[in-house]
């Protein structure tokens, strides 16, 4: 096989793996949008907050340490122990559950039957609040998240693929990050679990019912408030998964919340209401931007990855506004 061809394969593979990470973030948006028709602007910040909380518990940080020190004049920073990763994940999950309950109690409960735009504005407010709150609780410094997962290129794949090309072709094997592979595995497991939950359990069915018709859902005895807590808790769980995967890859820092912006074109491609859409959309964006950078990038001076996804999304908006898998919007006149 020629080196050119193998390079292209490598680019596509890396694109797919990056795409999975985009899908992870987009998934959180889809879950909440389906169940309540709210576009949750704060999903990216939720991922950041979840990752911060995870690191905080792991490193044994004292929550609100800076605040406590400033008020009481003390000098505390950590508990002095390190929490096992599993326990830290469970604690972070509990925090996200608490977060879901508070969001319902403090915000959603008072906005029942409001216009979607008002709920959207509320989530913008929530995003800025949570951003500041996360900083206050865990500090604003960049943190490394070590989940104990293998990182770096896989030598096995490199060794295997190097033999495919001719001896002096200048191809030294494919570079595939092990963490990306694990993230892809986690994403697949997450989607399978979520699908099974929504298809085969009572609460999953209630989630789908609420997504479909609020009035009918009430009439069969489903409490909307309970379902909203469940939805936000699941979105929080997805945020934790996305946040910890991205955090392990590139550190837990403010820019983590901006991956939400990458989820937007994914959603426009896949449709706001479709879980498979979020997956396929993420993969298309991932592969598309990597291939574009590889093929066209050198001609236009590179850095196409920053805008390619949005241009693709714009094209989609013109020709297929409901996305690849979204519900077709038919307006009866």
């Amino acid at each position: 096989m020629s080196a050119e061809f193998l390079y292209t394969i490598e680019v596509i593979l890396n694109g797919l793996l990056t795409g999975v990470m985009y899908s992870l973030v987009a998934l959180g948006f889809v879950l909440i949008f389906k169940a309540s028709g709210i576009f949750n602007y704060s999903q990216g910040v939720m991922a950041l907050f979840a990752a911060l909380t995870l690191v905080g518990f792991q490193d044994g940080q004292v929550p609100f340490a800076e605040l406590i020190n400033a008020v009481l004049g003390t000098e505390i920073h950590g508990f002095g122990w390190e929490m096992p990763t599993i326990l830290a994940i469970l604690c972070a999950l509990a925090v996200m559950l608490l977060f879901a309950i508070l969001v319902e109690r403090i915000i959603l409960k008072h906005l029942v039957n409001q216009e979607p735009i008002i709920l959207f504005m509320a989530t913008i407010g929530l995003a800025y609040f949570l951003e500041g709150f996360g900083d206050l609780m865990w500090g604003s410094d960049i943190k490394a998240l070590d989940l104990g997962l293998p990182q770096g290129g896989s030598f096995w794949i490199e060794d295997m693929t190097v033999s495919w090309a001719a001896e002096d072709s200048g191809f030294y094997g494919m570079y595939i990050d092990k963490l990306d592979l694990i993230a892809a595995g986690v994403a697949v497991a997450l989607v399978v679990a979520l699908t099974a939950f929504s298809q085969y359990t009572r609460i999953g069915r209630a989630l789908r019912a609420v997504a479909d018709d609020h009035q009918a859902a009430l009439s069969v005895g489903i409490s909307l408030r309970f379902i909203w807590v469940v939805t936000w808790a699941i979105a929080g769980f997805v945020a934790l998964v996305a946040g910890s995967m991205w955090g392990a890859k590139s550190g837990v820092q403010f820019s983590l919340s901006l991956i939400a912006l990458k989820a937007l074109p994914v959603l426009m491609l896949g449709g706001f209401t479709s879980i498979p859409g979020a997956i396929v959309g993420g993969l298309i964006i991932g592969v598309g931007e990597k291939l574009f950078e590889f093929a066209i990038g050198p001609m236009v001076g590179g850095a196409t990855e920053n805008w390619f996804a949005y241009v693709l999304a714009l094209i989609f908006l013109v020709f297929r506004p409901q996305g690849l898998f979204g519900d077709k919007i038919i307006e009866r006149v």
């Binding site: 099974a196 939950f197 085969y200 359990t201 009572r202 609460i203 999953g204 069915r205 209630a206 789908r208 019912a209 997504a211 479909d212 018709d213 009035q215 009918a216 859902a217 009430l218 009439s219 069969v220 005895g221 489903i222 409490s223 909307l224 469940v230 519900d327």
Partner: protein, 285 residues
Amino acid sequence: MSIHAAEAASDDVAYASQEEAHGIEPRRIGGTVMEMKNITLRFGGVTAIKDISFDIKEHEIRAIIGPNGAGKSSMLNVINGFYHPQEGEIWFRGAKRGPMKPYEIAQQGIARTFQNIALFKGMTTLDNIMTGRMTMMKTNFWQQAMWWGSAQREEVEHRRRVEEIIDFLEIQAIRKTPVGRLPYGLQKRVELGRALAAEPKLLLLDEPMAGMNVEEKEDMCRFILDVNDEFGTTIALIEHDMGVVMDIADRVVVLDYGRKIGDGTPEEVRANQDVIDAYLGVSHD
């Protein structure tokens, strides 16, 4: 004893013995299930329901009729908790009902269908009817998330009951079809199935035959009568087709402009001058 009464009594006996031969409990109209006392409902300055009282007895088919805008649907929405009346009391199964959310009322055993079908369009017939069992499933979130033994057993058991309802309504062929794709008449039937799945103490039907052709209407009539007969379900229904109402209802309450103008058996209501006036208009000379 008059001759008529004796005749009626012997008819009853024949009816009962025939049903016992089929192994079915004879249908008897029992005590009061629901009582509405002096209900008044206003929307701003508009009074939709004015001081209306009536009751619904166990195992009966109670029809609510009246011209457009009479307040029939509002009445059903009051019973089911979508609307909260400003005045009046609602008694359900011997207890006065406080202000409750619609889903709490559903959990108490009141199921309903809607005038403009409110099904979960993206879900299959089977899933739609399964949502009707929602109030009867007991396992909690964590058991379900883990798909533990009890959650699994529960799912299987409820699925069996749902299959019985599907057989009863003769919709086996569309079990796995998303209901959004079904024709109108079948959607109405699925909606009835979803309400039945809750094994309601009181079943509310909002124009179950609206927009149907004669054949579909006959089918629906048969299902309503069968539900009432076989399961003994108490039914309150709104219907425009007077022929249908007179055929299937045990008692009828007639509303006009938010007031009650008649209440009684179909024969009594048909003979009521106010009802005739409301339906045919009055001459003003």
